[in-house]
């Protein structure tokens, strides 16, 4: 059997395996979330100022919150199987619509952050490893340590103070200019302008991680027997580094990037909050406090699907980075 059809079969198999995993996640999330005191009706009524018990009973009935938990779960699962994520009680809108609305700002921030963090992380790690134990290496290590240890919200606020208030280079927050409402190409530029500070803030943390990882991974590979063999064959150091060592050293970094895609959705809550970026993390955070369980379950479902999918993609990238790894 040739390689590509092997990969296709592998993908199909993994996808089928993913279904029970995702269902199990849904069921577990459902019970975990229901452990929290109070429900969406309590929050809505609390915000409204006051509401009669009859009114609250009626709302619970309308939302289906008056039924026993197993029944609620069965109803939810039935809907999920039909690809219906239900309605958000708080927003009074279909969950799918709310999530899709927030998905693209999330993806925008996530992709730009990963590209920046992984790209620069690999470069810096590589550079540090090549210049091992020189001042350049030390500088990079110190930089990585500081960015890794600094709390994200503080970095974000400092960015705003430095680059938005002291120097009028970037807007403080938001995704678009809400006084101007640009259209077309101007809108793209405007969004890119708003994207700069949150991306830098969020990627600084991950950048440090990838730099240190890449450096360690390079050093480990340098010690391997195949490097000695390559040197004995008379290859140049440049060729050894970029063709042999680099490709092998990338494997753990790619693994890490794959794992972190999932974490980025939730982990960006702080950055989304500081920069008022309308992403999924913030939506999940708010729905937790509003006890908007349908919406929360929908977000969790999406992120579990995303993690399963990204892991699959990472496994396939392995095959290309290292032909010795085979799918089966």
């Amino acid at each position: 059997m040739n390689r590509s059809s092997k990969i296709l079969r592998y993908v199909a198999k993994r996808l089928i395996q993913g279904i029970p995993i995702i269902l199990a996640i849904v069921v577990m999330n459902f019970f975990l979330l229901n452990l929290a005191e109070g429900d969406a009706v309590d929050v809505l009524a609390g915000e409204a100022g006051s509401a009669t018990p009859e009114y609250m009973e009626e709302m619970r009935k309308k939302f289906g919150l008056d039924k026993p938990l197993p029944v609620q779960l069965a109803v939810y699962l039935k809907n999920v199987v039909q690809l219906d994520l239900g309605r958000s009680h708080r927003h009074d809108m279909p969950v799918t619509e709310l999530i899709v609305d927030r998905l693209w700002p999330t993806l925008l921030l996530m992709t730009s952050t990963i590209m920046l963090a992984v790209g620069f992380g690999i470069l810096l790690g590589l550079f540090a490893a090549i210049n091992l134990n020189t001042w350049k290496d030390a500088m990079i290590s110190v930089f990585a340590l500081i960015t890794y240890a600094t709390p994200l919200f503080w970095v974000g606020l400092m960015m705003i103070i430095l680059f938005s208030i002291k120097n009028d280079w970037f807007p403080t927050s938001g995704m678009e200019n809400s006084a101007a409402f640009y259209e077309g190409l101007d809108r793209v530029k405007d969004i890119a302008h708003h994207l700069v500070l949150p991306t830098i803030t969020l990627s600084l943390f991950y950048l440090a991680l990838y730099t240190r990882m890449m450096r360690a991974s390079m050093l480990e590979q340098y010690g391997q027997d195949y490097v000695i063999t390559a040197r004995a064959k008379g290859l140049t150091e440049r060729r050894i580094t970029f063709v042999h060592v680099l490709r092998n050293a990338l494997l753990p970094v790619v693994t890490m990037a794959g794992v972190q895609v999932g974490a980025l959705i939730g982990g960006s809550v702080i950055v989304e909050s500081v920069f008022a970026w309308p992403g999924l993390g913030m939506l999940a955070f708010e729905s937790l406090f509003a006890r908007d369980l349908n919406l929360l379950l929908g977000i969790f479902l999406l992120s579990s699907v995303l993690v399963v999918a990204v892991n699959l993609v990472v496994d396939i990238i392995y095959c290309f980075l290292d032909p010795r790894i085979e799918v089966n």
């Binding site: 009524a45 609390g46 309308k62 009074d92 705003i160 403080t172 938001g174 995704m175 939506l283 406090f289």
Partner: protein, 530 residues
Amino acid sequence: MKLPKFMNAVIMTAAITMGGSAVQAQQAGGSMVFLVQPEPPTMAGYVSTSGPIGLLGPKIYDGLFDYDNDGKMIPVLAESYDTSADGKTVTFNLRKGVTWHDGKPFTSADVQFTIMEVLKKVHPRGPNSFKEVSSIDTPDAHTAVFNLGNPAPYMLRALSAYESPMVPKHLLEGQDIKSAKLANNPVGTGPFKFTEWKKGQYIRLDKNESYWKEGRPYIDRIVGRFIPDASTRAAAMEKGEVLYAAYNAVSNVEAVRLNKEKDNISVTTDGYSMINPMALIEFNTKEGPFTDAVVRRAISTAIDRQYMIDTIFFGYGNPATSALSSNFAATGLHAEMPHYPATGDIAAANQMLDDAGYKKDSDGVRMKAMFDLIPYGEDWKRGGQYIQQVLGEIGIDVELRYEDVPTWLKRVYHNYDFDMNLNYFYQLSDPVLGVHRHYGTNMIRKGTHFVNSSRYSNADLDALLGAGMTEPDAEKRSAIYMEIQEILARDMPVVNLFELEFLTVYNTKLKGAYGSAMGAYSSFADAYLD
């Protein structure tokens, strides 16, 4: 300086005329971006009195009247009203030529439907405000006659766009009002029309070109922005990205700093007198350590209210002196009561507890209690810590508990599983609207939020509350509320701490937005950008 009444009238008229001629100088156009915090769940101000809805709703929906900063009624959808001699019939003469944003005419049928079918049935406070309204007659399209069971003087204080928005009958009739589509696609008669809601970002309203008031609104567009982080909100204000932030959306500490450092940023405490917020402690009077009124009086005596205001709220607030806010003094419904020392008296409080036989043990502790704190931010945590310290000095050892909103609401208003609870209530524009719910036996309602969670019940007080509600004579009413305040200062099921002063931070570029007693909950029809 005291002027004769007619002189006042002359000056007022002159001021109005001058105000009118200044209109030419006011510029039309521009976008006004302001902070809305947090993002509202919907825009159904006729179902929910939630704060962020109040910031946007009154720009879209009009009320029958608005109120100026002195509490005077300003005609909006009603041009005038007339109360019958017995106080049981109130006739509203409605403005002619008003249309809804979808072009349909606004008529007395809308008023009738709004009050009888919407506010009286699904609004959180409407059943109270319009309790006495038994029916509404509509002799013609521009006259609405309210028939009351008893006189209800307080009703005229609840006609603002925030408290009682007028909603379109043709878009709600025959539907389940709580789940009607109107909630997310509001259609009103107000100066601004709803255009777009980008969840997590902003709500955009555009000028209503056919607004009934000639030449208004001045501003082309109002955008309410949601910024979750408090420091970023202050930064956006500092940079001029947003021009207006009310209800402490910019925290006191930042507001004071911006006011001092920036020439173009100013603060005001105006615009909250109809809301009338009061910080307080609710006690569980049925179970636990605070069933004895002596202990509650001692706690009220010990707390240094001025200290709390100065150190935690940056000096914004006034010490409470009674169960009723001093803002009610204008209508003769406020008097200073005992056990409300502004600066606290630890020795007197200790003495009260000693005399009542509460002995200190070897650690100096008379009793232990759990103290729940309203989960609305750091200020309240600090307030709780201060009170914890003071109570320690009078031998009451309290442990603080800070939970998230739904857990806290359930604990206090559903399970009654608390000893004492730090909170704040809106006393609103009349005690009937904002205060009765806290003390009446009929307001002990399990599962309803912000009512009588102390489960305090006193037949004498109930009778007085009933009398205060229907008494049309101002002097007699004042006497009734005097007695009410005396009973509450003695029994203290709730200890009032201080009258909160919320801060509105604004960019001086925004003008004309400060004339209404409703403050941020007003229409902004007269606002303009300089």
